[in-house]
Structure formats: structure tokens, C-alpha cells
Amino acid sequence: MITVENLSKSYGDQEVLKGISRCFDTGKVYGIIGENGAGKTSLFRCIAGLETYTGHIYSSHTPLKNHLGLLLTDPFFFTKITGQEYLKLVCQARGKEIKNLEEKNIFALPLNRYASTYSTGMKKKLALLGILLQNNDYFILDEPYNGVDIQSNIIISEIILKLKQSGKTVLISSHIFSTLSDTCDEILLLKEGRFTRTVTKNEFSLLEQEMKNTLVDKRIDNLWEF
């Protein structure tokens, strides 16, 4: 379980998170949605301890960062490190040893090649595989489906459901609504630094329709207003 209490974060004069409070339960998957710049990545970075903030973040496993698998939107890889070496590095960092890597290479990645030569989707899959092999208790997946092929999208959704079954706490952000509705127990709408709405599974389609009506249609119509 992760509890966020009165979390605020500012960059200079700009306050991006405004006193967020929320509990993320064990064995549940939460989708965080919001427009670009709504504060999703800032929230994730604060929970991970990569940013300073005001407020409190508690977790049942402490320190939280040592039990957290963090998949960044744009994972960074060194120029001359192979996929296999990357996995070894991130697992070693958590004191974990990888056994039978070939069997665990669920995305069939070319692990003997330099990770920097991978495509965007392959890089994402490698980073995801890294945090899965670390066997964390909490997962933050920032845009896990970005640039990933359709087959891997299915695998990622299955992995998220498996994590839920194993009692892990998962926070996901995605711009593809269907991926969230397939995997999440709750979806939280982050707007201007606050959670303005929480939607449970039976209301997902309603939320999607509302978002379509209020945001997409109106903006697209503006294109043809002369």
C-alpha cells in the first residue's frame, strides 16, 4: 500500500501538484489520466523519491524506492551496453540475481545487442523486463504502451493483471484509454495538479464518453471554425 498525504510540488513559481491525498491499495491497479502537463510524471517522480516535495508519502515496504519498479516514459540507456548487461545492472542494483534469462525474455528481445540500437518499443520492453526481474512490490508504469507493437501490448496488459493477482500495487499512466480500462481497478483524473475525479470499473465507459464529448470533439471542431 502507498499513501500520499497532502503532496505538493512546485517548479519555481509554478505549482504542479496541489496538496494531493490518496491511498493506493495492495493488489490494485490504478490508472492516472490527464492532459499533457497535468502533473502525472511529477506525481510519479515524487512517489519514487526523484523529486523533493512537501507533504508525506508512506508505504508498507520501506524505503519505498527500494521496492519500486519505475518505468519511465523515455528510458535512458548507455550507448554501449547490451540488453543482457542492462538487465544484470538493474537487478544487481537491487541485490537480485537473474537465473534462466532466456526463459524470462518474454518479449524475445535481442539481448546480445546494444540496447541503444533498439527501437523505441524494444527499449520500453527492455526497461519493463528489468523492473519485472527486480521482483518489486510496487510498480509505476509511465506510458508503458508507448511505441510498443500490438502483440507486446497484449503481453503488457496480461503482465499488469498478473501483478495485480500477485498482490502488487500498480500505478499506470496511458494516453490509450482502452489499455487502462482493460487493466485498472480505478482511474483517477489528474487536472491542474489535483485529482478531480475517481472512477471505478463500471463507470469507465462513461468517463471515456465524457472525455470524448468535452475535450476531443470540441477541439477538433475548432479546427474548422473560420
Binding site: 519514487a48 523519491g49 526523484l50 542494483a93
Partner: protein, 294 residues
């Protein structure tokens, strides 16, 4: 450079003046200390000029400039970057070394460095993959050259040349730690700040020994009477590597700042300073890393 000096709170003009004076003082000390200083200057100057050869940067320049303009621009950039080294070599009357430096930096200006390559270079550093693994793959020709120099040194019965090769390996290893890594690669460690730093020290010491072992063993075998001197060089080289690592994290996540860089550079001429400097940087690093590692 101007922005970095301004960020540091120094007016660029004053910054350049201070840096120039320090460069001349350090250069004089280096040239008085070793006869291999001209080679070292050609090597260091060339190595520094590779910093502008990064592939993404050059792809961008190629996109916005005509091919001839791009080539001229890159040659001028590299020439300006190594200008202090060229001027000092000329001041010392070393015309051939100056020409060699200019030719090397011009050739390097036209090469696409750090371009994505599919050739995976095998290394003995897989057990703890990161700095030495990546660094070795980036500079392995230089390490092979150092091994080659050692063979020449033994053949010419020139122990000092062998020591120079050993110095090249230690200095090259230090370059693996100059750039701050992406914060994820610090954050991911399940260690506190002190544990993290000590593990970096341990890995670096083990791997620098491994990299310098062929030279050290070869020199010790052919010059057994010089083993104490050789051990002293290895101790100083290893301590210098530790200074660089500690200095790197003392400014983390920013790049090593100018005063820290200068303090580290002074250690080349005055190694006893490291006795104070390593603990000083270590304590500063702990403060910097605590915000990420706890």
C-alpha cells in the same frame, strides 16, 4: 562555457582569465615533471576534441549546414577547443607536436564518433556492468595503444615510457567517471549513499587493477628492482581514480564544477593532496546522494 561560468557566479571574462592562468601554471608543472608531457598534451588535446564529435550533435549540424560549411565548422570548433594546448606547445617550441595535435583534431572533426554500432566488443568487466564496461568499449583502441607502448618501452629498455603507458591507463579509467550518469542509474540502487559510493570505489579499484595488470606485470618482470616505484605509481593512480569518482558525485547530478575539477587536476602535480581531498569529496558526495538514495 560562458553559461557554465555565469551559472557558477563568475563573469565569463574573469573566468577565462583565471582558467588561463591555472592552465599555464599546471602545464609548467607537468612539463617540468615529465619528459612525456608533449605526448600527453597531444593525447589529452585529441581526447578533449572528441567531446564535440557526438553523433546526435553532428547529425543536427549536418542537417542545418551545407556539407562543406559543416566540415569547416567542425575543424574550427576542434581547433578552438585545443587552442590552449597548441599555444602552450608552440610556446615550448614544440612545432612538430603542435602540428600533430592540429592534424589529429582535424581528422577527428570529420569522424562520426559514438555512432550506434552493432559490433559488441567483449570486455572482462561484465560482472559489474557499467562504467568500465561502457568506458572500455568507447576507448579500447587507447588501451591497446598503451599496451603497445609498454612493449616498445621494454624493447627500448625505457622504464619511464612503460610508466607513462601505465599513467595513460589510469587517466583513461578516470574519464569513465567524468560525466554524471542519468539519475535512474543512481536511484535504482538499493544502497544508502555511503554504501553506494563504497561499492563504486571497490568496483573501480578492482577493474583498474585488471586493466593495468598486463602493463604492471610486464614492467615488474623486466624491471624487478623498480617494483617499489611501480607500486607507488599504481597507488597514486588508484587514489587519483578515487578522487575523480568522489569529485563526480560531490557535484551530482550536475557535472563536476570548475573548482572541483581544478582541485583534482592539482593532484596530478601534488598527489599528497588526495589524502585530504578524497575524504572531503566523499563527505560532499554523501550530502548530494542522500537526496536520491536516502
Amino acid at each position: 562555457m560562458n553559461r557554465r561560468l555565469s551559472d557558477f557566479g563568475v563573469h565569463p571574462a574573469l573566468g577565462y582569465l583565471i582558467l588561463s592562468v591555472l592552465f599555464v601554471i599546471l602545464s609548467e608543472l607537468v612539463f617540468r615533471r615529465t619528459v612525456f608531457a608533449p605526448y600527453l598534451y597531444v593525447l589529452v588535446g585529441s581526447a578533449i576534441s572528441t567531446g564535440l564529435g557526438e553523433s546526435k550533435r553532428n547529425d543536427f549540424l549536418k542537417l542545418i549546414f551545407h556539407q562543406n560549411t559543416y566540415r569547416q565548422l567542425r575543424i574550427i570548433e576542434n581547433a578552438l577547443l585545443v587552442l590552449p594546448f597548441s599555444i602552450f606547445l608552440l610556446y615550448k617550441g614544440l612545432v612538430l607536436s603542435t602540428i600533430l595535435l592540429m592534424v589529429l583534431t582535424s581528422v577527428l572533426a570529420l569522424l562520426r564518433l559514438n555512432a550506434p554500432s552493432s559490433l559488441v566488443i567483449p570486455t572482462p568487466f561484465n560482472k559489474r556492468p557499467f562504467e568500465f564496461l561502457v568506458g572500455f568499449r568507447n576507448v579500447f583502441p587507447l588501451v591497446l595503444a598503451a599496451y603497445g607502448i609498454t612493449l616498445v618501452a621494454i624493447r627500448m629498455d625505457n622504464f619511464n615510457l612503460g610508466v607513462f603507458a601505465l599513467g595513460v591507463v589510469f587517466l583513461t579509467s578516470c574519464t569513465f567517471y567524468l560525466k554524471p550518469e542519468n539519475e535512474y542509474y543512481v536511484w535504482v540502487f538499493r544502497k544508502n549513499a555511503a554504501g553506494f559510493l563504497l561499492s563504486k570505489f571497490k568496483t573501480a579499484l578492482g577493474y583498474v587493477m585488471l586493466l593495468s595488470l598486463p602493463i604492471a606485470v610486464a614492467l615488474a618482470s623486466f624491471y624487478p628492482e623498480r617494483i617499489p616505484g611501480l607500486l607507488l605509481v599504481i597507488t597514486i593512480g588508484s587514489s587519483f581514480l578515487l578522487s575523480v569518482i568522489a569529485a563526480k558525485y560531490a557535484s551530482y547530478p550536475n557535472e563536476m564544477n570548475v573548482p572541483h575539477f581544478l582541485l583534482v587536476a592539482i593532484c596530478i602535480s601534488f598527489p599528497p593532496l588526495m589524502v585530504v581531498l578524497i575524504p572531503y569529496f566523499f563527505m560532499k558526495s554523501l550530502k548530494r546522494l542522500k537526496s536520491i538514495l536516502g
